[in-house]
């Protein structure tokens, strides 16, 4: 089991919880398990094609998984995964 820290925007889908634990040994497995346990998150973290949503950032401890092995990044039981929405915008 690994801990996943949720951003405030996803917490309503997890009954208000800021941290949840799910089974998995890779980021992909954890996120898939997250969407199974909390169906309201479907499509918000992983796309229907199983890719990481472009406006979502996932971290393994302090590292953005896009700079590691992305969804295939291994996760151990003492690791903490964080999900945060990308924060962007602008006049254009």
């Amino acid at each position: 089991m690994s801990a996943i820290r949720l951003p405030t925007v996803l917490r309503p889908a997890a009954s208000g919880r800021a941290v949840v634990t799910v089974e998995g040994t890779t980021i992909r497995q954890l996120l898939e398990a997250l969407q199974v346990e909390f169906p309201a998150m479907s499509g918000q973290v992983l796309t229907s094609q199983g890719d990481l949503h472009r406006f979502v950032n996932v971290y393994l401890n302090d590292d953005d998984v896009r700079y590691l092995r992305q969804l295939d990044t291994p996760v151990g039981p003492d690791d903490v995964v964080s999900i945060l929405p990308a924060v962007a915008g602008g006049v254009a």
């Binding site: 951003p7 964080s82 990308a86 924060v87 915008g89 006049v91």
Partner: protein, 140 residues
């Protein structure tokens, strides 16, 4: 009570100064506090990884650090501020489309005129509603 953003004069000055320093690129940063009250606990000045005069992206690594710092302080991220370098402080279609959290406060600082102008908004389901920015000791 309606929604409002409550900041100190020092926090407001920090946001504006950061955006002026980032010019001609858009400046950006995150606000932490208690969501229900709209009271800003801390302002975090972040890097715009887009490095653009027209779009901004808060550095993802810095975003995580702010999130962790907020958690340690018993608060949460409650909003974002960014600058419009040559247009008015009104959320653009891009700002609305990419607003990450309906619970957040979206602060816009316009550098269009000599005197920077600051406004705050809530963006929920694509709808924009302006809220007052209450400066401790005054109101703008």
């Amino acid at each position: 009570m309606g929604s409002s953003l409550q900041v100190s004069s020092v926090q407001l000055a920090e946001m504006v100064a950061h955006c002026l320093r980032c010019y001609p690129e858009e400046g950006c940063g995150l606000l932490t506090g208690v969501g229900e009250t709209g009271e800003v606990a801390s302002v975090y000045l972040t890097r715009n990884t887009a490095a653009s005069a027209q779009i901004y992206t808060v550095d993802p690594g810095e975003h995580l650090k702010v999130d962790l710092a907020a958690e340690a302080a018993g608060v949460e991220i409650i909003g974002v501020f960014h600058s419009h370098t040559h247009t008015d402080p009104w959320p653009s279609p891009t700002d609305v489309d990419q607003a990450p959290d309906p619970g957040w406060h979206y602060v816009l600082i316009s550098l269009r005129h000599e005197l920077p102008s600051t406004r705050s908004y809530r963006i929920v389901d694509g709808k924009i509603s302006e809220e007052p920015v209450v400066v401790l000791g005054g109101r703008i």
